[in-house]
């Protein structure tokens, strides 16, 4: 497996696409900016479990997103965050 494309602390954007297959990115996180919280190893790609056993496997990250980014009218404080698991092929560098 190749080296991680992203490093902890890096700013990334989550892709805004909607493939027709089962995927593990909820609509509310699509297109949003966050930072890599940690790298979580390599796992089967949920979009490839029909036909190819989840291969090629994908690197998984936890991405930290400010609540105010997710919901502009968020009523809590500016320091509230949401952490979410996102596979590498859904991320692009945004720095």
């Amino acid at each position: 497996m190749s080296l991680p494309l992203f490093r902890p602390g890096q700013t990334v954007r989550i892709a805004a696409r909607t493939p027709a297959v089962h995927h593990r990115v909820p609509a509310y996180a699509k297109g949003k900016l966050g930072t890599i919280e940690r790298i979580c190893g390599v796992h089967g790609d949920p979009e490839k479990f029909i036909g190819s056993d989840g291969k090629p496997a994908q690197r998984l990250y936890r991405v930290r997103i400010p609540q105010k980014t997710l919901w502009p009218d968020y009523s809590g404080t500016a320091m509230d965050h949401l952490d979410i698991e996102i596979f590498e092929h859904w991320l692009e560098a945004a720095e």
């Binding site: 593990r24 949920p46 936890r62 997710l70 809590g76 509230d80 965050h81 949401l82 596979f87």
Partner: protein, 210 residues
């Protein structure tokens, strides 16, 4: 009324089917798939029973044991936060094939767990998740207005505490490490474990009752 059956109770009120039959198309497909997998030798019915028995043996007490150890052993706490999967193996637990991630509550941060896409939960470790955890109400609202949802659970947080929601969308399973209550400095690990509730391990409870 048939012969020998002249008692008073009303069968329309007391009748219960003695065995739940699959009612949906999906349930029937599931049963057929299970039969095919066993027939094709992918696993045996005995292996399936062992997995079910192990899951039924799981309970929040396992999480309480892990958290109490972390409270009394700073080096263990460090290992647990850095590599949860290996740290729980030290205590005889495992959550394969999932990664196990422990999130530490502090005076400044409150962690709470949800799975918006379905209802992922470390079931093999903590047992069945509560019904509300699987509800669309909790799943939709916790990411959108966590402070309001937490307040409904009795957790009110000041503006000086960050709320950190964790959406369990893929391969990780989570547990919150609650804060150790004050006044428990001389307590044993076993006594401490008794304070730790299921909801405090999910993050819908914050101040443990002593």
């Amino acid at each position: 009324m048939s012969e020998g059956h002249d008692h008073e109770h009303d069968h329309s009120r007391t009748f219960q089917a003695d065995h739940a039959e699959p009612v949906s198309e999906g349930a029937r497909v599931g049963l057929a798939l299970r039969a095919l997998l066993i027939e094709a030798g992918h696993y045996t019915a005995n292996e399936e029973q062992e997995v079910i028995a192990a899951m039924q043996g799981a309970s929040p007490e396992n999480g309480a044991r892990i958290a109490a150890r972390a409270w009394v052993d700073a080096a263990y706490r460090q290992r647990l936060l850095e590599d949860g999967a290996n740290a729980i193996r030290e205590l005889g637990f495992a959550l394969d094939p999932y990664e196990f991630t422990v999130l530490e509550n502090t005076a400044e941060v409150h962690n709470v767990i949800v799975c918006t896409l379905c209802s992922c939960y470390p079931r093999a470790l903590l047992g069945m998740s509560p019904a509300w955890y699987k509800s669309s109400n909790y799943r939709a609202r916790l990411v959108r207005e966590p402070r309001r949802v937490l307040a409904e659970f009795g957790v009110t947080l000041g503006e000086d505490v960050e709320v950190r929601v964790h959406d369990s969308t893929a391969e990780l399973r989570y547990m919150v490490l609650p804060e150790r209550p004050e006044g428990t400095e001389n307590w044993s690990e076993t006594e401490l474990a008794r304070l730790i509730t299921r909801d405090s391990l999910i993050g819908t409870e914050r101040r443990l009752k002593v």
